[in-house]
């Protein structure tokens, strides 16, 4: 137990330092942004003002906290969609496509159950979205296991496929009559409406339940042991009598299910599927998963962090006149530092043997390696 605790101490070090560095880099940009503001001057304290209003915006009121949790909800799910895959040695770039498939299916099923009481309509629509996402994840998993097609390539292509197919269907087959723009009909009682005057909705519960379930699955079950074994050393997994191919398909389907659920949450919150559902939560999931070191608890914390930045950004724009886009910059720079872990370790003179380095290796591992049998 002692050894395990010890490894946790070093666990969040690189992510934390990456965040710190990203905030420093963003500070420079925030100072520079002052030059283009109405006063056209260099204000060295501007970053502090901006970050303070960011914090106040997210944590200063109950509404802010609610906004933070609501923004973090889909990120938690897409974070799991990427993170659980990394544990199995798979890099799921397809969360975006899986989100779209899940959201679209939830919207369609939502229409069907629109008249049912909410406690039936919501779970049914969510489950439908989850299943659609799982199917969208199954395809690249199957292709990887039986043809060796790399999941990065196939999921990128499937993202485009999902995007075009869904928007084609919304514009044509499933277009609701009586609206000036293309969209699906309202989901009625399946909609996730805010409670108590905040944006909080019951979909949040689903995400918060998925975190402990994932943790339990990965670390406390034999299935999770197999997933991690296949990810860490597929040949040893084969030697141990596991079935790496099956685990790849299972894991990708599971990842798809998480992403599909994320899509369902976002669409049911909106109440319908719009002609263009532009969302970055699929790709944000990559940042969340890496920042959380592919660990469910880490993913929870990272999603809350990014959620807080999203929730606090409007106040930052009002008080500090710093554009909300700076949040995307911070997120991007965090990702760069995480990917270039070695840079962070150099800057802070950390020793190189890192925990969680295995997950990053998944991304840099050579393409076209042969999939072992089973």
């Amino acid at each position: 137990m002692k050894a395990r605790l010890k490894s946790y101490a070093g666990f969040g070090l690189v992510p934390a330092l990456s965040i710190l560095l990203a905030l420093l880099v963003a500070s420079v940009l925030i100072i520079a942004s002052g030059l283009f503001g109405p006063e056209k001057k260099v204000d060295l304290l501007l970053p502090l003002v901006a970050y303070r209003s960011l914090l106040v915006g997210a944590f200063g009121s109950f509404k802010g906290i609610a906004n933070m949790i609501v923004a973090a909800t889909p990120l938690m799910l897409t974070g799991l969609a990427v993170g659980v895959g990394l544990k199995a040695g798979l890099f799921n770039i397809g969360a975006t496509g899986q989100v779209l498939m899940g959201g679209f299916t939830a919207a369609l099923v939502g229409v069907v159950v629109a008249g049912a009481p909410p406690w039936i309509a919501i779970p049914v629509a969510m489950l439908a979205g989850m299943l659609a996402g799982a199917l969208a994840g199954f395809i690249p998993g199957f292709l990887k296991a039986y043809t060796g097609a790399h999941e990065v390539v196939t999921t990128i292509m499937l993202n485009a496929l999902a995007q075009l197919t869904v928007s084609g269907l919304v514009n044509d087959v499933f277009r609701a009559p009586g609206f000036s723009f293309a969209r699906t009909p309202p989901v009625g009682n399946a909609a996730l409406t805010g409670v108590g005057g905040t944006t909080l909705h019951v979909g949040v519960i689903f995400a918060f339940v998925c975190i402990p379930i994932s943790y339990w699955l990965l670390w406390r079950t034999t299935v999770g042991f197999e997933i991690r074994a296949v990810g860490a050393n597929p040949t040893a997994a084969l030697y141990a009598g596991m079935k790496p191919r099956r685990m790849m398909i299972l894991t990708m389907s599971l990842c798809g299910a998480f992403a599909g659920l994320a899509g369902a949450v976002e669409i049911l919150r909106l109440g319908y599927y719009p002609a263009v559902f532009g969302t970055s939560i699929g790709f944000d999931g990559i940042t969340v998963a890496l920042l959380g070191q592919a660990n469910p608890v880490g993913i929870l914390l990272s999603a809350l962090l990014l959620g807080a930045m999203r929730a606090g950004a409007p106040l930052m724009q009002i008080q500090a006149r710093v554009p909300v886009e700076i949040i995307d910059v911070i997120q991007g720079v965090i990702l760069i530092f995480l990917a270039a872990e070695i840079v962070v370790r150099r800057i802070f003179r950390l020793r190189t043997e890192g925990v969680g380095a295995g997950e990053l290796q998944t991304i840099t591992r050579t393409y076209g390696e042969k999939v072992v049998g089973g």
Binding site: T222, A240, G241
Partner: protein, 536 residues
Amino acid sequence: MSVEQPSPPRLQMRGITKRYPGVIANNRIDLDVKAGEIHALLGENGAGKTTLMNVLFGLAHPDEGEILIDGNPVRIADPADAISRGIGMVHQHFMLIPVLTVAENILLGAETMANPIFLDRNEARRRIIELGKRFGFEIDPDARVETLSVGWQQRVEILKALYRQARILVLDEPTAVLTPQETVEVFAVFRRLAAEGHSIIFISHKLYEVLEIADRITVIRRGEVVGTRQPAQTNEDDLAELMVGRRVKLAVDRGTSHPSEPVLTVENLRVRSDRGQDVVRGVSFNVRAGEILGIAGVAGNGQDELVEAITGLRRSIGGMAHLAGQNITGWSVRERREHGLGYVPGDRQKYGLILGFPISDNLILTRYYNSPFARGIQREDAAIEKWAQGTIEEFDIRTPSWAVPAGTLSGGNQQKVIVAREFSRDLKALVLDQPTRGLDVGSIEFIHKQAIRKRDAGTGILLVSAELDEILELSDRIAVMYRGEIVAIVDGPTANKEEIGLLMATGGRVPAEGPPPGMSGQAGAATDMPVKGATS
């Protein structure tokens, strides 16, 4: 080199101390190497040889002590600094780029320029050829490295160091990757280098090699020098004792075996390699309960594929395998395991262990889903921990805790984890593939003892090893494998080493008349071959 000169030794390391958190890797080590001397550094895995050489090569910095080259104190900052001071290092794993030529690999990082922009390839080629000639291994500088054998690749590494004008050459277990023939050749190169005044530090844990090649032998144990010997004044037993710190039985006491019914039977088994070649061509034998059947053969004669087919990792294309009377052909890895087949794989890091996982997880890697380690799909961590603690103690795995990653263990202890996992359950048959490759004498002794114990408990053991000495030492019967066939099965205790060596090299026939590859279906190859002693 025997001429005593008044000048100081080429290299002196004085009182080198290097501490890592929790361990003293080197404790006041003194080492001096003369010009023209081959100095062997002998020690078990983890004794501190590599740390000492890393200090010399600038990869680690000593906490105390000093290094003198030709009597002048130096501080070696990094490898580039070490190279500029004439120190060359040949790592066990080659640092070559396979798709580049010999000359390109050698030039990398030590470019010979014709002008500030272009390389002077002709001058480089000329120097490479000249160096090769001088030391007795002429090499084509334009050959692509990937086309060279391992032995020649190693010579490219040596040339790389010589090209950079190294006068002190460090070779980290250079023979570990070589065949016996290549070892003889590379030793000739070493002697030539020494005769030209180069100093060679030769790291090894193979006692007979060290005795053969070294002028002096320094033995390191637990970070300290425990003695320096000259080959004439010592022998293998003495060195082993120095290395391990107690008397070691180099030859295991194997007693007599009491074989009974066959437990693992292979009939006319045929297997293809990844490249689609028939590499196991009609192999038949049986292993009886309570005996060790050794498979001798030069590496690459189909042993790997045979083992994979028996353990279920690879599908056979013909023939049958039986385990304790049941036809297991076509069974999965797991079904075979569950019916009493154990397997210690040849490549422990690729197959045997998940290096990033704790020792406890590695100890249950093949049984994680069984009671008491799991109930339903839920892991029983308390049971896993308890069992791991007991097993670590029983098999003497040296580790601070069951929770540390297997990758942090020394090679010998990693192998002990695998042996503990496979040996600690009831088995009908057990496949041992290269069970002691790369291990030190202490670990070898331990694993051999365990194998004999398992045999005496009634398990049938199939031992595959590239070390003929290991086969001879342990096997009750020896099968010789040559070009995918068993060409002879002989009695173990009375086997003649030279005879088996000859069978391994030629298959017992005129070499040129070996059947062409692809000619398969030679049914019952084992039965119509020269057979001596007990037959299957």
